[in-house]
Symmetry: C2
Subunit: 113 residues, 2 copies
DNA sequence: CGAATATATCGACGAATGTCAATAGATGGA
DNA sequence: TCCATCTATTGACATTCGTCGATATATTCG
């Protein structure tokens, strides 16, 4: 019943996707969604995301130790999640503080049905 | 407020994960979840999944053409999704019919918050 | 049985990915 | 200004991944 033009899930740049069940994804919609799921498809990034989500705001400097990864690796993963729009960073002084973007997680949830 | 022992999301083999926001993921929980998200992190697999989800049941033979991929590639992706428990297959005669596993999608949705 | 068809597996290939050491860039304090 | 510190980038490496042709396996039909 839901047509392609109803219950659309808003993703970053451009309109994207009804829930998976309602109709087959177009190629560009699938590419957009896949990029987001791929960002969650790594255990280090998932733990990183949950560390940020558990608090309101987390500094990059407080992520290396709980993740057990080097500073460049942490930076690599925060960049990946930020590129996906799942977290957003704010630089204050020498420190980089990260927050989750709840709408983005909600959009993924919606895409799953 | 939610402790680790409440609102747990049941994944395949073993207990797994409260929602991302409630507490940082353990390594094994993150590995389990990441495997699932990685399965969704490919545009071909997402389109494949949405093709199956849009109908009740889809034969492998009806996937090659809409996906524009070779038969081995389609088989590769159905196997990946099946290994992740997101679809389940039933062989009838020469044909393999695939259905989505709604609980599995619901579990992922729950893990996102 | 033998031919035809649907699916799975194998092998190979290029591309993408996760990791870290080394280095560069930015910021604040002495 | 100079140094210490936090973050980002670069380069290199091994590993994984997506893809397809070729082949193997399974099943139905004559």
């Amino acid at each position: 019943m839901a047509t392609r033009s109803r219950n659309l899930i808003q993703l970053s740049d451009g309109v994207c996707c009804a829930p998976l069940q309602s109709s087959p994804l177009e190629e560009d919609e699938a590419a957009e969604l896949a990029m987001l799921f791929a960002a969650l498809g790594d255990p280090v990034r998932l733990r990183l995301l949950s560390l940020i989500a558990a608090h309101d705001e987390v500094c990059s400097c407080d992520l290396e130790e709980p993740l057990g990864k080097s500073q460049p690796t942490v930076s690599h993963h925060t960049k990946a999640l930020a590129d996906a729009g799942l977290i957003i960073g704010e630089k204050r002084g020498r420190w980089m503080f990260w927050r989750v973007v709840p709408d983005r997680l909600a959009a993924l949830r919606a895409a799953l049905g």
